[in-house]
Point group: C2
Chain length 111, copies 2
């Protein structure tokens, strides 16, 4: 995974914080498919994700505007992925939609 290259704020971020079950059944394939599908949506800017050995994970997707976020939530294949998420893959999750106001970072020249 890499840090997303994003424009200057303001833009939107959606955090998806989740606890995985021990069920795998198609999880990895669905993840790749959803990442690919999201990247083709209007307003998509990028995403970042990390999951630790304890099954706790955070995925952040970035968008130009709130309408794009609502459209992505309603895409048919994504709705099916959400259903599988609730029935099989996640014991709990929380989604937060936010407006990024400022951003700054650090990049080591030699690393």
């Amino acid at each position: 995974m890499r840090i997303a290259n994003l424009p200057e704020p303001p833009y939107y971020m959606v955090s998806f914080t989740s606890q995985r079950t021990e069920v795998d059944d198609g999880y990895g394939e669905m993840g790749y498919a959803m990442a690919e599908l999201a990247s083709r949506q209007p307003g998509y800017l990028g995403f970042e994700s990390a999951r630790g050995a304890d099954g706790f994970g955070i995925l952040i997707s970035y968008w130009t505007d709130e309408a794009s976020i609502r459209s992505w939530k309603a895409v048919v294949d994504h709705v099916e992925a959400q259903r599988r998420g609730r029935s099989d893959w996640y014991s709990r999750y929380e989604i937060r939609v936010a407006v990024v106001q400022r951003a700054y970072g650090f990049h080591h020249e030699n690393k």
Copy 2:
């Protein structure tokens, strides 16, 4: 790690997306110390974090307001942790400050 229990929006979230180096030297201890110190700051609401085996990680901290975020950035021991982060522990990081507008989730009753 657990999903943070937060009040209804609006509140602030600060995402810290980072790539770790292979240097450990005090990293874990500093992480615990900073989590503990942050939890005692005015305006602190909670945090969530995950890091994968590839060293890519996301930490999100939640705050009541922007002034609390700026105060936390300036706490002396935290400034020293930031310095160590740049010199030793992270090859790259990005921080984004955002206002959460809405939040919703899912909790499986039996998991």
